[in-house]
Structure formats: C-alpha cells, structure tokens
Symmetry: C2
Subunit: 662 residues, 2 copies
C-alpha cells in the first residue's frame, strides 16, 4: 500500500535534511539516510517513547544507530523531534566544534545515546542496554508499580551484520531472551565497496533464528504500514529479541540508487537536484522543513513530555511505596557512592595473595553495599575470580542476578558493558585474561571515547602465567592501553595496591579503568599508604643517599625490592618506586614527580615483564628499560624468570652495570 | 555400533598419551583430548593425507587444531603418526624449551600447521588455507594434471564457535563455497567456567546452514564409523564447506566427565587411575603405546610416504609439461623474488600523492611480476587503493582471481591472511583503515608470533582523515603495533618512502609488515635515497651546525621540513630526521644511530599525529614529544591541524621554546 502523502512528506523531510547536510559539508554518507528514512520515521513517529526536552529521562526508549556513518539521518531526526539541535547545527555538519560530527558522539549531542561508527558496536551496546533494562526492571519494578519499562531499538546495516561482534552479541541476546530488544537490519545489499553479493550472501534471518531471535522480513522497506506492523509484532514478542530485516534501496530516489557510489560520498549538486525532483521535493530551499511537518513533530514532543510527566507521577508513587529501594536507585543512577563501603583489609597475615584473588576479595566485600555493581567474565570467572558470591546469575526470564555469563565472547562483553554503563543505574565490570584485551579493544576504545564508567578486570597479566605459553602471555597490551586516551591502567603490586585500585575505580566521574592483575601469588609488601592515586610512590628506600632508582609495576615490584636488597649487600643504595599507574603519575604536580624521580638521579632501571615501549619517559637517557621485547614461552613461571633474567641477582647485575657506566 | 576393540585400543592410546602428558606436567587440558580422541583418530587414521617424514609436503592435507588448548591431543597424534616428536617430548609437555609447549606453536614442532590457542583463530586460518588451496589449484592445475588437491580440516570447540571471528570466517567460507574445508565442532556442551547452556544455547548447525555450509550432526561422538561416514559425506560435497557437529563428552571416561573441572586442569593421579580403569587401560606404564598400535601408525606413515611419492611423480610430469608455471610455482613456494620486478618510479613530476595512492601504484606495478601477491580489503578497496587491476576477483567456483573480497570482516580477513601465508605458495596482503587494526589485532599478533609473511596495508592513518572524526582517527594504533614483537611498522612520508617500504615488505624471510599510509596527499620530498631500510635518515639538513633535531614520520615529515624552514628564518639550524620505522632504526649499529641522532644534540622534537607514547626514547630527557595524547575530532583536516598546532609556525614556536630552555 502506498504511503499517505502526509507520511511521504515527513519522510522526505528527513531524507533531504540529511542529504542537504552531507552536500553542504561535501562529506558524509547520503545513501543510508535516503534508504532507511522510512524505517526511522515509522519508529520515531509511531513508537519511540522519548521526550526531547529531557534527553536523560530514565525510562525513555533507547535508540542506537549502529550504522553510525548514517549520522545525518540521526541528526535530522533529532532536529525534527525537538532535541537541542538547530538547522544551523545541521548546516555545520562535520565542521570543527559542531554538534554534528561525522559520526554520532555521546556526551556531545543531546539525544545521541552512544558514540557509534566502528561497525557492529551499536548492536553490542544495545544488547547491554537491554540487559541493563531487564536487570533494573527485575530489581526495581514492584507488581503494577513499574519503574522501568522501555525498549531498546538498534538500527544496523550490512556492515554491522558482517562484523563478528554483532554475531557474538546477538547470540548472547538470543540466549538471554531479551524481548525488549528490537534490531532493524537495513538490508540494502550494498556496502562501501560494492554490492553485498560480492562477499555476503548468507541468510541473515535464518542466522538470527538460529540465535533464538524472533525474525521478520519487510520486503517493502518504503512502506510505513509494513514497517509499523513489524514493529507492533516485535513488541508483542516478550521472550525473544526481534530482528526486522527491512529490504531497502541505498540512495533511494537518487540517480545513484542501489549502487555503492551512494554509500559514502555526497551526491553532488546535480544529483541532489535530480533526487529532489524524483521524490517531488522542492529544489529550494535546502534544509526545508514544511510547517505541517514541524507541527507534527511538535505534537510528538508534547506527547513525549506527557509520557515523562506520567512516568514522573508514577515514579513519585513508586518512591513513596519503596523508600529504601528508591534511595538505592537514585544513588546508583546519579553515580554516587554509598556513604559507607565495607572495604576489606589486607595485612601481612594474609600472606602472599595473587592480585586476582585480592581483587575477588574486594569485589565480594563491597558487593552488598554496591548493588549497582554487575558484570561477569568471558567464560573465565573461576580464573579471574570475579564471581560475586550470593548475588545470583543473570538468567533468561528472571534477570535479577548480578553475575553475567558472557560466554567466550570478549568483544560482545566489552560492547555490552559499554551499553550497561551508558544505560545508567549500574556500575558494570567485565573480566578476561589480559592478553584477550586484543579481542575487545575496539569496544574498550569506544568506552574510552565515550568516557564511561566501566571497569575491566584483566588477570593473568604477564609471562608469569607460565605454561599456557606465548599465545596467552601479554607483552604489548600494557603499552596498548596506556597509549589509549582516557584509560586508566593500574597494575597493582600486591593486595593493598589492588584494594587501592578498586577504591579509585568505583569513584564517580572517572573514565574506564583497567585493573591488570596477576595469576600468581605476590608477597604482601608491608603496611603502608599504597598511593595508587598518585600513580607512583616510594615503596623501598635505602639506608644511605639514593644512587639508583628501580621503577617497577605489579609483580615486578617485589622483585625490585629483592634486587635493591641484593644491591644493598653490594653497598649500592637503591630506591624502589612502585608505579601502578603511569597516567595518574603523569597527572601529578611536577614537585611530586620530582620527589619520586629526582632529575639528579639518572641511574634508573624500570622493571616490567612486558614490552619496554614507553618506559624511556621514566628511565630517561641514561636509564635501562628492562622488560620483554619479545614473545614469551611455555614453561613454569620460575623457569621463565630464570630464562629472562627476572631474578634479584640478574637485576642487581644490570643495575650495577648501569651505575658503573653513568 | 560399538567400535572394534582395535579402534578402541588405538583411541585409548591417544587419550592416555594426552592425559599422561597433562598429568606429568601437572598443567594442561585433559578434557577435550579424552572427548575428541575418537574424531581425531578417525580423521588421522582413515582420511588425513600426510607424510610424517616431510611435514612440508606441499599437497598434504592441512589439519588445524583451533582449540589449541587441546594441544596434548595433537602432540599424541603427531607422536603416533611418526612426526619428529618422541615420548620424551611428550614427557616434557609445557616445560621450558620443549617441543610440546602449552599451545601448539608453528615453526617449533613439526606437523603443527599454525600456532593456535586464542579461540576462533584456527577457524579463520583454515578458511585462509582453503582459499589458498582453491586459488593455487585454479592457477596451477591443468586438466588431469593436478598440482594441488588437498583438504583443510579444522577442529574447533565451543569457545571457537562462540567467538565472532569464527562467525565472520565461516560466513566468508560459505560465501566462497570452499568445498574442501571441513570443520569438526567438538560439541561437548562444557566450557572453562561451566556448561554451555549458561551462555550458549543457539543452534550452531542452523547458523552454519544459514552461512551456506553443508551441515551434519554425529550424535554418537564415540562411534568411529559414524564419524567416518560424516567425513566421507563431507568430502563428497564439493561446492560448500562442511561442518560436522560431533556430540562428545568432555573428560570422557573420567570421574569428571561432562563437567567443567575436566576442561583445564589435570585430572589428578587418582582420577587418571580411575579413568584408565574405566576405559580398560593398563594403569602402568604411563605413556603406553602398545606394539600393535605403533605398528598401525607405522603402516599409515608408509602409506603417507607413498602418497607423497606418487605426488612427486605426478609433480615431475606436471613440471615437464608446464615449465613456466612450474618455475613460477617453485619460486613463489620457496619465497624467492623474481630476478626483475618492475618497480615504479616517483619523481617531483608526480606532484603530491597520498601514500595510499602511491601504495596502490606500487602494488599494481609489481602485480604481474609477482603472481603470488594476492589479497584484498575489508570492503574498502576503493579507499585503501589496494585493488589489483586486471587480476580478477577471487570468486566462488573459479577462484583464479587475486582480489579477495573480505566484506566488513577485518578479523576474519587477518586470520585468513595468516592462513594463506601459512599455506605457502602465496604472498598475501590485506587492507583496511588503520584505526581498524583494533578489530584484527588478535590475528595480527598471531601473524607476528608465527613470524609469517603477511603485509597489512593500513590507510587513513591519522586525524588528518578529517571529517569521519574520532571513531575513525587512530591515536594509539602506532604504539600498539610498535610494541608488538616481530612487527615492522612503516609510516612513509611520501611516495618514494612508500616505494621503499614495499621493496622491504616483499623480501623473503621477513615477518609481518604494517604499511601505514595517508588518506591525504603528501608532497614529494625530493629525489633521494629514502633509507627506509635503516629505519631513519636525515631528510633535511640546515645550512649551519645543527642545533635542534625534528624527528617525524609519515605526513608529519613535510610539516617538520616546513617548520625547519621557519626556524631557519629565525636563525635556528634544525635538522629533520624522517623515521619511517622505529624497529629498523633500533636494529642499526650504534654508529649509524649516532650519525642521525647525535647524543650531543639534546634539543629534539618528535612530530607525529598520534599518541606520544614511546617517543621519549628518541627525543630524550630534554626533548619534546609533540603529538596527540587525546582523541581527535570531526572536521576538515586543515581545521584540525590548526586546532592541534600542527602548523609550521606552531611547531617552530615549540622548538624555539625548547632551545631556549635546554
């Protein structure tokens, strides 16, 4: 059935706001906005529950544009819907400092739920948002008193569907039966480089059925009623996520329709004119919003304001009936810590403890006080020690448990963790072996770019994991994360530093944290103020004037102390600096840094069982960065230590040699 | 039907060699070897074409153990089959320097086709091997004269199937219709942390059917004849890859059977005894190989020797009939370059050229001389400029084209590229945007660990890609790859350095290369010896004695030269060093390094539009690492340059300030 002229006009308004923005910028992606406008319009005009006056309304439906390159489509929608985004903003698409960057950016543009662009990520984020909604609903809803009840919609393209990440995330979502997750697959059969049949002829619908999803196909992607019916049906399926495969035409209406040249470059002035003519749209002015279209969206905004007002009234009722819960909810929503947290204590009596063990002890100690702390591992919690005992499992149908089982899907885990953090109301963590940071780095990068609160627990942090060998032994992962903006990477030396690291990681308004923990036991390094918050501090001072500084992190701090003792036997006075977090140390005032690493003391050795890349900043021109600039080997840890010279004797020799030469 | 006692004895031999090895090491994974021994036995005893006397026989079937943690199973098979692996080697499982490391390592143990362990990788590698076989067969087979005709088998576990990578690779394999690829999915319903139904209840068979695979289920995974029949059927399907879902029991026969405690820890002495008793195996001696079992495998080895001898005879015939082809084949197989390669020339007349363009020019110039050069991009060849014109597309059924279309599947692309390199006979490249290194890093790491010849073409290498914004702008990727052992990372400054980089990258016996190329045009920096092979060289020398050194890479080299000219106007004598490859510079003799960066000149500024992490090694205590320790922004490149101070004026100011302070 053809669309009504009213619908068609509204859809064309979206299409040409996007096309005009791309054309004015002379940069961007017009193809998907033209093809997917009908789907987006149907969702936003008929289903999506939002209030443009408050983009933070907690119970809003979430809309994730996984195909972030179609940002112009989202910006057109946000403008029309009444968010804080003007026509002038659309006109400065992709310009420096504008609210309309090339890909949608969270924290930057009201109504953008998450930064997207790298493909597949939005699908993983949406799965996390739906997990958060399910968990919070399960915890906070009370019979008819519903605090939370929203859908999460995600719009994805062919590229999203090809990425393994979306497969992982969708398998997980199917397993979990996330009925309030609805994915639109804009099936336009064209990608950047050509038609999809060059590389992608699988049956995506059948694959999603295999994942346990409810699958629908809309063959007429330009038909509002057909899309609408599919959304209605998807919302009706409560125990499975839904995918709606919408067959569309990239660059719809343009001379480039159905070709890859419509994907990622402006249509050109002439083609824009032809497209407008073909779709019966006025050639001028550009950025046209007919009055009746504007009026329609104002009405939708009023409806949205009413939705929130109703919810607010309901919330007040709920709050008065559930005071304690409400206090907990509001605290967690606002990212505030409880006034008292029962932090555990570690003393010499605990003996040697692996920092992964210490981390597990901390997490379990604080779990009851921090009900917002939820998460899990990629099938490794017996090894990462991240299981929250007594907090239940996050399972299909109930969703009240706090332990999430991600399976061997690191990338989806990290992307979902981003989604949980973005949803709000929770403080998510996730865990795997440190080496497998590589598997989830694209999502971790977006966590850093989004500047969201996620805690990555990364255990088995070096060659000292031993027998599993070089495939599992991290070398370059510390450098990778340290070079990533906004990340805080902490490698604690013992249980006390692990505790201090966790105290930092749960603080509000901090970006993502990587806690890099040992598989093996590490000695307790003495009662002290483990100044992890300063990034580095003196952990061992010699009896005489300092001649040499050993700088170490994590498991190498105890080695450095032993080495300093060896050096003392030889009459050399060596200071040991524990440097659990380079980023925090760099952020200290120069005076503090000078007290730790005085410029005058140029004989310095860094000790870290990893790539030395990046260490020269601290050891300086005359120092030695002692590490592992090669892959590891499979053997028991003590044999590896001997092989690579990570023994007090050898380190003392290296340091003595340095002192002799400086 | 129950197995014959003969088969059962042979299977138990495999099982207990593996179990005894794990137990002796007191480390490792006994569960999968116990459960998957029947499948492995059936394949190796009845189907796999191999000659243990020559693990390099070109036409051997390839066997990839994607579930690398089951290494003890592979080692047991290799020992029995007659490869260079003794019982003593099995007894030193997971010990320093042994041939039997925790996960199988290529180049280390004869018969190990590829290093595996990180899950999903082996599936991607096997897809690459099958692609290589299909291409080589298509190029070299001549009617009945077949040079190449082998299968690629891969054994995967639940974890492999959960990883997005295997999904990407399998979707690609299904698209390509790789009929000689056969995947065994050891479906034992248990992973490290628990039963798979905690996180993974999808219908894997249906998913593979959706990918376009031929799907079989073997419910009785202990039944040799059932497994055998499935292999026979799989081999019979020529136009689709086959998956055989074999239902097995982890830790079969042991008291821990069917539980996750059987997965990754030794059974313990008592349980080993109980398992042997349950399966009617002598308690002693450990590492038992009954004579009749040994005799069987000797016979198989003789058959294998005959297979190779027959092939050699056939090869001789083929060679005499196809002299030119044979010369090409042998050269490529041996990794030798042709005596003449028509390298293009670049001169000032070419004007400004983006290094991605220059790279494309080089690739196309040498493509005919190097028919072994094959590869493609992750749906980006119009942007990466890596399409080999006139060399055809690698398409289902024909496979003779050299341009591979990987779709938006970076991770599978990199893993398949590893597989192509490992197969032999080809020199593979792959390409994507530099930022998406993150998506394929796990496979790139294994390329580095395997030390194989793969060339990664990575374009759009910095914030200068402009409008796409921070989601697409690399910051930490250079640091990531530079910190990765065995990688050579080259960021050329102009067309001439790009040419020099390619000359290095095609050299035999070199590890993986990352060629990091610009989206934007870069000026030609003058006729010269672009000493990329030295890692760094002087590209601009001032008229007077050097007071200051600017060190730059890629697009920042021309900026450095312009800045030096500004400084000259101010009377400051600045040298400019182009440092396209840190690793190669570090490998130079100290004298060479001193001529480029004399210790006496401490006023140094590095210029790179990326994280400064790692640069202090070259700029030293008194220098300034000028870069971008934050994410980028969406805007036209010139606006970004101004915003971040990457202008000759600002750099000159920074350098002047430094000189004043040193």
């Amino acid at each position: 059935m053809p669309n009504s002229t009213v619908d068609e006009q509204r859809i064309n308004t979206i299409r040409f706001l996007a096309v005009d923005a791309v054309q004015k910028a002379n940069s961007g992606h017009p193809g998907m906005p033209l093809g997917a406008a009908t789907t987006a319009y149907t969702l936003w005009a008929r289903h999506l529950r939002y209030n443009p006056a408050n983009s933070h309304w907690f119970n809003r439906d979430r809309f994730v544009l996984s195909a972030g390159h179609a940002s112009a489509l989202l910006y057109a929608l946000l403008h029309l819907a009444g968010y804080d985004l003007t026509i002038d903003d659309l006109k400065s698409f992709r310009q420096l400092g504008s609210k309309t960057p090339g890909h949608p950016e969270y924290h930057h543009t009201a109504g953008v739920e998450v930064t997207t662009g790298p493909l597949g990520q939005g699908v993983g984020n949406a799965v996390g948002m739906a997990m958060a909604e399910a968990h919070l609903a399960s915890v906070y809803n009370r019979g008819s008193e519903e605090l939370l009840d929203h859908y999460t919609y995600v719009m994805a393209g062919d590229g999203d569907m090809m990425e393994g990440l979306s497969g992982e995330a969708s398998s997980l979502a199917g397993h979990l039966g996330l009925g309030k997750l609805i994915l639109f697959y804009d099936d336009n059969k064209v990608t950047l480089a050509g038609p999809t049949d060059v590389s992608f002829n699988e049956d995506v619908g059948a694959r999603y059925a295999a994942f346990g999803w409810h699958v629908q196909h809309v063959e007429a992607g330009e038909d509002v009623d057909a899309v609408d019916a599919a959304i209605v049906a998807a919302k009706g399926v409560k125990d499975k996520p839904s995918i709606i495969v919408v067959r569309t035409t990239i660059g719809y209406g343009s001379p480039r329709a159905g070709t890859f040249s419509a994907h990622g470059e402006p249509l050109g002035v002439e083609n824009v004119a032809k497209t407008k003519a073909a779709l019966n749209w006025p050639a001028e002015p550009a950025f046209l919003v007919p009055d009746e279209v504007a009026a329609f969206w104002r009405e939708r905004a009023a409806t949205g304001a009413k939705l929130e007002a109703d919810w607010n009234a309901q919330y007040t009722k709920w709050k008065s009936a559930n005071g304690t819960l409400a206090a907990q909810f509001e605290r967690a929503r606002d990212g505030i810590l409880p006034s008292e947290i029962p932090w555990p204590t570690f003393t010499a009596e605990n003996g040697s403890v692996a920092t992964r063990e210490a981390g597990g002890t901390v997490m379990n100690a604080i779990a009851s006080a921090l009900p917002e702390l939820v998460g899990g591992s990629a099938d490794l919690d017996p090894s990462t020690k991240t299981y929250l005992k007594g907090c239940g499992d996050f399972e299909p149908g109930t969703y009240d448990g706090r332990n999430m089982h991600y399976g061997v899907r690191e990338h989806a885990m990290a992307a979902a963790t981003n989604g949980i953090a973005l949803h709000g109301g929770l403080l998510p963590f996730c865990a795997t072996f440190f080496n497998f940071v590589d598997y989830m780095k694209p999502a971790m990068r977006l966590g850093a770019l989004n500047k969201i609160r996620s805690i990555y627990v990364l255990t088995h942090d070096s060659v000292w994991l031993g027998e599993d060998g070089p495939t599992h032994q991290p070398i370059e992962q510390l450098a990778t994360l340290r070079a990533t903006p906004n990340f805080r990477v902490v490698r604690p030396a013992d249980s006390l530093e692990t505790l201090a690291a966790w105290k930092l990681a749960v603080q509000p308004e901090t970006g993502p944290w990587a806690l890099v923990l040992s598989r093996q036991k590490l000695p307790y390094l003495g009662d002290r103020t483990a100044a992890v918050d300063k990034g580095a501090y003196i952990i061992h001072e010699p009896s005489g004037a300092v001649e040499l500084i050993l700088i170490a992190t994590g498991s190498e701090v105890s080695l450095a102390i032993e080495s300093a003792k060896k050096l003392a036997e030889r009459g050399t006075h060596a200071r040991v600096v524990s440097m659990p977090c380079m980023e925090l140390f760099d952020a200290q005032p120069a005076e503090y840094r000078e007290t730790i690493l005085p410029a005058a003391i140029r004989a310095r050795v860094s000790l870290e069982a990893a790539s030395t890349f990046g260490w020269h900043k601290y050891v300086g021109d005359r120092g030695i960065a002692f590490g592992l600039d090669h892959f590891g080997t499979s053997a028991p840890a003590p044999a590896i230590a001997k092989e690579y010279g990570f023994t007090p004797e050898h380190v003392a020799d290296v340091a003595s040699g340095l002192l002799a030469s400086v």
